[in-house]
């Protein structure tokens, strides 16, 4: 909200400096987003054109005599075409400083010019919002008055942010009140006495029927003898500084009162309201309204309107209709100062995709008492403009009083840690307009009429804290009480991240919202994801329409983008649809792209590296060993996919990405990926120490020839079982395929380590053991032994 400091000064004495005021507002809870600096302007005074003639030497110039109240009128030439005799205008005298120029005595085509007639642009006001040419001031303004001081043109303008609970402070007066309370100086609030007292002419009194509870109060007031024209210069300038374009005196009055008090108003041409009878009701099906911005609006079911018996007049709290709009020929008007249900106004505005200054206030639900205050201020201004005011007619609720709140000294102490006495607390609250009755340590507080946000003791504690200043509250480190809440999941994620980083993986963070481009490469490869994908209803763009169902696709996209071998991991949530509305799971994915190796087709060191990393990771975070088993997963290489099991339960899946999928993601090297669902990770189990035998061990190497489908893990199991408790290790350490072992067979090199805990094992014993091993291998998997 644009807040001219000059306007604030009307109600409260403030420091000179804009930054000081801005800081104070920020510390009251109204951050200043921007300070619009006003340029230096001096030497501009009010003047009156007392003579005007054509320039003797130039057709396009005129020469005026301007009375600036100093005796001899100044002779000033101008090229402006809107000047006329007896106009009151701003005049820059010799030595004046304007934003772009310094005024000096000079000759214009032979005529000595003693100054300059000034346009809005030269006063740093938006030129489009004012007269084309020389600015017009009001007749009767004392001549010679300093224009900059008169209109507050030197003061900067603050762009103030007001939180949604403080719609009362979406107004100059509201902010002035805050500053006055904070600085401890009086507030010069305007009077809210309505000058309209007389009864309306017979049969013209406006009436209102409230058919919807979403209008709580409607003050209607009739004015006649209205003459539509430009508003006085002071009002136009003030509105312009506040960022509001001046339109005509009536529109400007309604905007002025809204900016001053926060209460939006609407004026109807009285002759266009059938029977001067206003009905506030829901919009009917298929109703339309030609609004005063020139648009034809099809009203939505959320809409509610001000209507007369025949037609819709206005969208309640949002915008008026063109038909009942004030026109140049209008002479009688009816003012509407109404209070609406904010939620309803917001729903309507959203359904119509409209937002106005009025609706941005109404949608936060104003205090009903403001209706009378707004009407009174408007009536005062209209009377100043020469209109005649009849008495206001309020409809709806007359109950404005907020609930009484009980506040204790203890409330402040326990929420703020501040020890304040009741007198100090009550002084702060009174400064903000509260009515306070104090009895010992208990305050009975009635919030002011315009504050709807103060409903309980905690609200008042915040008011007191704001007035004391948040800086005054001492910062103390609390002693944190002990509790039973566990950090388990967080620690697991961190242990995983640390382990993977140590294993050489880089952590990445992709978007969880994805476009169809994450699925397309899979579809191209003939893969339909097994998960039902969650769709976002209101994405900002197509590339964020879907919630990721797996971390893999974005990771592949990343590896494709990087183009060089890279090891990466990500921990994040994945989402899919199920019988429940949604399934959300925390997943770790890690993997790498790597150069192709010169290896036989039946061996893949990259795969073994990935498996080794997965095993090391699980060992690190769970303290347990896992075993691998073959597996098949969509998107993975059918021959290079495995699952890691612990106690028969799946902990991780891993494998090479199907080369077709990798290619679809623009990766032209082998890619390997492992997924771990964090819920599947076994709880950390503290490993138990087994002291080594005091006696030396021995080992035996075997070359076992078996069928191709006999897994190394199977051989390991058989050997371990056959050796029994003497076995301290079995490792399959090499594989060979080729002509020497024959078609359909492979040779596996196995080392078994054998040890006794009670004595040195003899060669004879070891040989005896190995005999059992060979028998078992022959029996169980038809192995033959290569010498």
């Amino acid at each position: 909200m644009r807040v001219p400091i000059s306007w604030l000064r009307q109600y409260v004495d403030l420091p000179e400096d804009a930054d000081t005021i801005a800081d104070r507002l920020a510390m009251l809870g109204f951050p200043v987003e921007d300070i619009v600096r006003r340029p230096l302007v001096t030497g501009v005074v009010v003047g009156k054109i007392v003579a005007l003639e054509k320039h003797p030497n130039a057709d396009r110039l005129q020469v005026g005599k301007i009375d600036v109240g100093s005796g001899t009128p100044l002779t000033i030439a101008t090229a402006a075409t809107n000047v006329a005799l007896n106009q009151t205008i701003p005049v820059a005298t010799i030595g004046a400083q304007l934003p772009a120029i310094k005024i000096e005595r000079r000759k214009m085509r032979g005529v000595e010019s003693e100054g300059m007639m000034v346009s809005a642009d030269e006063l740093a006001l938006p030129p489009d919002w004012f007269e084309d040419g020389i600015m017009q001031l009001d007749e009767g303004t004392p001549l010679g008055t300093n224009v900059v001081e008169l209109f507050g043109l030197a003061d900067d303008v603050l762009d103030v942010e007001v939180t949604s609970n403080r719609v009362d402070a979406m107004s100059i007066l509201g902010l002035a009140r805050e500053l006055a309370a904070s600085y401890g100086v009086p507030l010069r609030a305007p009077s809210f006495d309505n000058p309209g007292t007389g009864e309306d002419p017979a049969g013209t009194a406006p009436s209102v029927t409230l058919e919807t509870a979403d209008c709580t109060r409607f003050v209607a007031q009739q004015f006649d003898s209205v003459r539509v024209g430009p508003a006085p210069a002071w009002m136009r300038i003030r509105l312009a500084l506040a960022g509001q374009r001046p339109i005509n005196n009536l529109v400007d009055v309604s905007n002025y009162v809204m900016l001053e008090t926060a209460q939006p108003l609407h004026f109807y041409d009285a002759s266009r309201v059938s029977g001067r009878h206003f009905i506030v009701r829901d919009a009917r099906p298929d109703e339309t309204l030609h609004t005063l911005d020139g648009e034809d609006r099809k009203l939505t079911p959320q809409s509610f309107v001000i209507a007369d018996g025949d037609k819709v007049l206005a969208l309640a709290g949002l915008m008026g209709g063109a038909q009942s709009e004030v026109r140049p020929e209008t002479t009688a008007i009816v003012l509407e100062s109404a209070n609406f249900n904010g939620a309803r106004v917001r729903r309507m505005a959203m359904s119509l995709a409209m937002r106005t200054e009025a609706s941005s206030r109404h949608e936060k639900t104003l205090a009903p008492a403001l209706t009378d205050m707004g009407a009174a201020r408007a009536a005062q201004l209209l009377v100043q403009l020469g209109a005649h005011a009849y008495r206001p007619h309020p409809f709806g609720s007359n109950v404005f009083d907020a609930d009484v709140i009980t506040l204790t000294v203890r409330d402040v102490r326990r929420l703020l840690g501040l020890q304040l006495d009741a007198d100090r607390m009550s002084a702060h609250l009174r400064a903000l307009g509260c009515n306070v009755v104090t009895a010992a340590d208990v305050l009975t507080v009635t919030p002011p009429l315009w504050r709807r946000d103060l409903t309980m003791a905690a609200d008042l504690v915040e008011e007191i804290a704001r007035m004391e200043g948040y800086d005054e509250i001492e910062a103390i480190e609390p002693s944190v009480p002990s509790h039973e809440i566990s950090s388990g999941q967080y620690l697991l994620e961190n242990r995983m991240a640390d382990t993977l980083a140590a294993l050489g993986y880089h952590e990445i963070a992709n978007y969880a919202l994805q476009g169809v481009d994450m699925q397309r490469p899979l579809e191209q490869s003939g893969i339909t994801p097994s998960h039902k994908i969650v769709e976002i209803r209101n994405p900002l763009s197509e590339d964020q329409r879907y919630l990721r169902w797996a971390l893999g696709p974005a990771m592949l996209r990343y590896l494709g983008r990087i183009g060089a071998p890279m090891r990466v991991f990500e921990i994040g949530h994945v989402f899919s649809l199920d019988e429940r509305p949604i399934v959300e799971e925390a997943v770790l994915a890690f993997g790498f792209s790597a150069p192709r190796l010169d290896e036989p087709a039946w061996r893949d060191s990259h795969f073994l590296r990935l498996k080794g990393d997965a095993e090391a990771l699980i060992r690190a975070v769970c303290g347990v060993e896992v075993t691998a088993a073959r597996d098949v997963r969509t998107g993975y290489h059918p021959g290079k996919t495995a699952v890691l099991l612990h106690d028969g339960r799946e902990v991780a899946t891993l494998g090479q990405i199907d080369p077709r999928v990798a290619r679809a993601f623009d990766i032209d090297m082998p890619v390997y990926l492992s997924n771990i669902y964090l819920d599947n990770v076994p709880l950390y189990r503290i490993p138990r120490y087994r002291p080594p035998s005091k006696f030396p061990s021995t080992y035996r190497d075997l070359a076992v020839v078996v069928d191709l489908d006999v897994a190394a893990e199977r051989i390991r199991e058989i050997v371990q079982r056959a050796i029994g408790e003497l076995c301290t290790g079995v490792r399959v350490f090499d594989e060979y395929r080729g002509p020497q072992v024959g078609e359909g067979r492979k040779s596996l090199a196995v080392r078994a380590t054998i040890q006794r805990s009670d004595a040195t094992i003899t060669d004879a014993e070891a040989d005896q053991v190995m005999k059992r091993v060979l028998e078992a291998l022959q029996r169980d998997v038809g192995a033959s032994i290569r010498e």
Binding site: S164, G417, I473, E477, A501, L513, P581
Partner: protein
């Protein structure tokens, strides 16, 4: 006898001299042969014993043997000296220590996780637990339970991604306040980091997906001064001990009183010039905070007359941008290898 002794001592002196001057093994060996060899000077001297009276011969033999032993030890000492000379010559062949290092194959932790962890660690050391929760949340946890009823204008501020009428991607981590308090009786001391989502157009300062860390302390006797103390400590931990922290009144439906938290911009502070990080204001906005609203405490069945508490929610990306002086927030999701390695 004294002749023999004189001769021996002269011989020993000359051997020691020759050995000490030997520059290498060859010269040392030559000296040894000359004095102790089969036809060396000692052998000659030993032969001369035969001319002594028989009664003196045994003593003379002993004297010579002792001298030989001393000479042998001189030889050992000088051998070691020469061996060390050679080794030192070998060691003195230096390498270029400025040659580029061999990079370890270490991975990296994402800078967001590092910032998040450092923030959490501060609270963990003070007895807070770190809890995680879902990103898709019903509106009850996101709004209703946080004192934001359906008609509340503050809902508009959370421009959220919806999945159904009532299910959305959480626009803040505050649902974790409700989840934690519903699961546990007071006292509560938790921080809850995690991802949040809002319908923000992506640019150098905004992402539609970001991380927050939520903090919640509820117990008897907790007040706003404790909030200031804790968050001031956090900022000093993250940015340095002279860091200033400012609390400004604000409005959040789930806290009362509420405060925005700003901390002095470390970049401006370091350079003394207004910077682009803070827009020249000298303050970095960290997020919202305040005393837990009585309605929120009531919603989870806590008695607001017995328990008070504070909560806060800070954006992690903002902390990360500030801490590492990053020009564009999108770099966090781009995760370029160079970016990750620079900040590792």
């Amino acid at each position: 006898m004294s002749d023999l002794a004189n001769s021996l001592s002269d011989l020993e002196r000359r051997f020691a001299g020759a050995a000490a001057h030997a520059a290498d093994t060859r010269e040392l060996d030559a000296a040894r042969v000359a004095f102790l060899g089969r036809s060396g000077e000692v052998t000659l001297l030993r032969r001369s014993i035969g001319q002594l009276p028989a009664s003196e011969r045994p003593d003379a033999g002993k004297v010579i043997n002792a001298a030989v032993e001393r000479m042998e030890s001189v030889f050992e000492r000088e051998s070691a000296r020469i061996a060390n000379l050679a080794f030192e010559a070998e060691l003195s062949r230096e390498i270029d220590v400025t040659f580029p290092s061999i990079e370890p194959a270490a991975g990296t932790i994402h800078p967001i996780r590092r910032v998040l962890r450092d923030a959490c660690a501060y609270f963990e050391r003070r007895g807070f637990a770190v809890v995680l929760g879902p990103e898709v949340e019903p509106d009850y946890y996101n709004f209703d339970a946080l004192n934001i009823p359906p008609t509340h204008p503050a809902r508009e501020g959370f421009d959220s991604f919806f999945i159904t009428d009532t299910l959305l991607l959480r626009p803040h981590t505050s649902p974790m306040q409700i989840r934690t308090m519903q699961q546990h009786a007071p006292p509560i001391a938790v921080v809850a980091p995690g991802r949040c989502y809002r319908r923000d157009a992506v640019d150098a300062r905004h992402l539609f997906q970001f991380n927050q860390v939520e903090g919640l302390l509820v117990a008897e006797g907790i007040h706003f001064g404790h909030l200031k103390g804790m968050l001031t400590g956090l900022c000093r931990e993250l940015f340095g001990s002279d860091q200033r922290v400012r609390f400004r009144p604000s409005f959040f439906p789930f806290t009362e009183p509420s405060a925005e938290v700003d901390t002095t911009c470390p970049k401006c502070k370091a350079s003394g010039e207004p910077c682009n990080m803070c827009g020249g204001s000298g303050w970095i906005e960290l997020g919202g905070s305040g005393m837990v609203h009585p309605n929120v405490l009531r919603e989870v069945g806590y008695d607001p007359d017995v328990y008070t508490g504070w909560a806060f929610g800070f954006g992690i990306e903002r902390l990360g941008l500030t801490r590492y002086d990053i020009d564009d927030i999108r770099r966090f999701v781009d995760s370029d290898p160079d970016f990750l390695k620079q900040l590792a």
